[in-house]
């Protein structure tokens, strides 16, 4: 009998009729156009939001209009190509990193299979190297001698509307999580290439509403949700009532109080949406337990900075507000809550954008006396660093049995892990607040953690399928520890994670809930004078 070859049959040289034809690409990647259809793109920015932003000082967001990615005509300005190429020239001149990243890739492929979008889709343009090639090919064509002379032979590609559409497709299929960068032998930060692509697209009015409306809201009222100062305070007050009902402890946080020692800034989702509000209740209890002299701000009422996903100038402006508010209130330093990308902005961009922060002091814990030298420059300490230090110095007491309903694992959020190196503090805290917890497999945690799949303003419902498939590598590791150890909680330190992982789990591992680390701290915290009810689900218990 003839030996049947796997590869021979696989390319459909079959005798009998088959229902399947396979999807082997029969064209080079640069000849496969981006096709937009419902479900594979996020809605474009609403015209009124873009108009508003374009009217603001220090930023530029032109070409506000109604348009759809599904239309052939994207209503671009007549000289769109000139704008894009000039924009690229400006950026190559301003950002040396971009120039280096454009030049130094040797296409070794180390990044290719590290991206959660590629791993979830099998789409070659989701390989970080090829995603970057979408920009690099235009760079070669117009900015290198070889490209100018040899064009396509030198890997160059002319900037066309088709290329622009491809940029939009794939710049918004990257969460700037930087996992690929960990594996790049040259240290190319592909996230910064995505950032540049998004910036260039904004020059001709191409962006997504889920990024731009929060940006507009933050610029207007100080937070993504567009909460006014009164509403922001009102929401925190509601949580204080909940805390009192649950624990018998009345917490009385202050707002916009001049002369407080510490300004506390956290993502606004913590005061508004489940499960973030339980994390917020954890913060409130912790600060009460140690008698911290702190204030909230109703203006710097957002840790998140969607400017990072938008443009350099927008990021700078939104970040600047936090420091302006710290200066106005005369605090000594800033304590930051469980946020992801806020920490990337703080650690990687703040200093050169808005520094030096010489009006603040090097953070020193008023409870333990620990000086946070690591935050000497930014003057901003992460809540997990702060909490871990309290634990290490024996300043807070826990009753682990109050977390008996929880068997967690820990998800390293991309930005705290890869952009600030916050790896051990959360684990140290977990060791002290729960009896037992389990790590996910080692190639899915710490620096190599997998993204939730919905960061960089991609957590919108119109691209639910895309989010579920890009979140698969994360969910797959959670499923493993759920099945092996009975893990029922995915703990994390990021507001976007808390929101998006909840949805991700309900699709892939519905038995697992998502909790902020400070929620677990709040659950277990023993406070003098408390009268806790029997809280079978911790701070989530309905009483």
């Amino acid at each position: 009998m003839a030996v049947i070859k796997v590869d021979k049959l696989a390319v459909s040289v079959a005798k009998g009729p088959s229902l399947m034809t396979g999807a082997y690409p029969n064209k080079p990647w640069d000849e496969v156009p981006a096709v937009f259809k419902p479900g594979n793109y996020a809605y474009p920015t609403k015209a009124d939001k873009l108009e508003y932003l374009n009217s603001q000082q220090g930023v530029s967001f032109p070409n506000a209009r109604e348009w759809s990615p599904e239309d052939d005509d994207w209503k671009l300005p007549e000289n769109w190509k000139e704008i894009i190429l000039q924009g690229l020239a400006d950026r190559l001149d301003r950002f040396r990193s971009l120039k280096i990243f454009m030049d130094c890739c040797v296409r070794c492929g180390a990044c290719a299979d590290k991206c959660h979008f590629f791993l979830g889709t099998g789409d070659p343009k989701n390989m970080p190297v090829l995603r970057a090639e979408l920009l690099r090919s235009v760079y070669r064509n117009d900015f290198t001698l070889a490209g100018k002379i040899l064009g396509k032979l030198a890997g160059g590609r002319e900037m066309t509307v088709g290329v622009l559409k491809e940029w939009f497709m794939y710049a918004y299929q990257c969460t700037e999580c930087r996992r690929c960068s960990v594996f790049c032998p040259y240290g190319i930060d592909t996230a910064e290439i995505t950032m540049m692509l998004r910036e260039l697209l904004h020059l001709v009015g191409i962006g997504i509403n889920w990024a731009m409306e929060p940006v507009a809201n933050s610029n207007r009222t100080g937070n993504h949700m567009g909460l006014t100062p009164q509403a922001f305070k009102g929401n925190v007050d509601f949580l204080c009532d909940d805390v009192e009902n649950l624990t018998g402890v009345r917490v009385n946080p202050t707002f916009n109080r001049k002369g407080a020692e510490v300004l506390f800034i956290t993502p606004s989702a913590d005061v508004f949406a489940e499960p973030g509000i339980f994390t917020c209740m954890g913060y409130l209890l912790l600060f009460e337990a140690i008698g911290l002299d702190y204030t909230w701000s109703t203006y710097a009422s957002e840790g998140g900075n969607f400017g990072l996903f938008t443009s350099n100038e927008m990021m700078k402006k939104l970040n600047g507000k936090m420091y302006a508010e710290a200066k106005r209130l005369g605090v000594k330093w800033i304590l930051g809550g469980e946020c992801g990308h806020m920490w990337r902005v703080i650690h990687q961009y703040m200093d050169t954008m808005n520094g030096p922060t010489d009006f603040l002091e090097v953070p020193k814990s008023p409870i333990t006396g620990t000086v946070f030298d690591n935050a000497k420059s930014t003057k901003m300490v992460h809540i997990s660093e702060f909490t871990a230090d309290l634990i290490k110095n024996g300043k807070i007491k826990f009753d682990k049995s109050r977390n008996a309903h929880v068997l967690p694992t820990f998800h390293d959020s991309c930005n705290p892990a890869r952009a600030m190196g916050l790896l051990d503090e959360p684990r140290y805290i977990l060791d002290h607040v729960v009896d037992k917890w389990y790590e996910m497999p080692e190639n899915t945690i710490r620096e190599r953690t997998f993204c939730c799949g919905s960061g960089t303003a991609l957590n919108t419902d119109e691209i639910m399928e895309l989010r579920m498939r890009s979140g698969l590598p994360r969910a797959n590791a959670v499923k493993y520890v759920h099945e092996k150890h009975g893990v029922n909680t995915l703990s994390c330190v990021c507001a976007i994670d808390r929101a998006t992982l909840s949805t991700l789990m309900s699709y892939w591992v519905p038995e697992v809930e998502v909790a902020g680390l400070s929620e677990l701290v709040g659950n277990a915290l023993v406070i003098e004078g408390e009268q806790r009810q029997d809280l079978t689900e911790g701070l989530r218990t309905l009483v």
């Binding site: 229902l19 399947m20 690409p25 979830g120 409306e213 567009g226 508004f272 929101a499």
Partner: protein
Amino acid sequence: MNTYSELAEILAAKQKQILDIWTERTLGTYSAPGFFKKSLDPFANPVGVQIRSGLAALFELLRDQAEPAAFVGPLDQVIRIRAVQDFTASQAVVPFLELKWVVKEVLAQELQRRLLADQLNEFECAVERMALVGFDLYCQCREQLYRNRIQELKSGRARFTDGGCPSRFLDAAARQEQMENMRK
């Protein structure tokens, strides 16, 4: 139930070959499948490994003529992934039916025997039954996606846009818009 026992023996003997081709063709439905086929690390390559092991489990259940309920787990393992990828419904479930083709190609010689040809009908019916359960699961996955959307809206997690916040009503324009919407 022992409807295709002779065929089952041959299926067992040719298991590796059938599975290799079935997996190869299924992973071949992705546009850049090289890594999915190559890497056997379940955490580095969830799509490839989950589909590979799901198909293997399904084949063994068919070979052993297992009860329909036993198929749900491995079917879900495969279809939950394909239900959120860039496939139509038929493209998502077609790998299950493709097994019929693979078996006929691999067993072309053996199937010339009358007895086995009869048993093949039974086997194919079992494969189709499996594919239909796969289609039910596909629909459940899609429904779950819609429920996720609703849940996000209800929980307030998604309220970055479209005025979820009460304070928006302080904005005269938003109030006006709200009134007009209510009138509609």
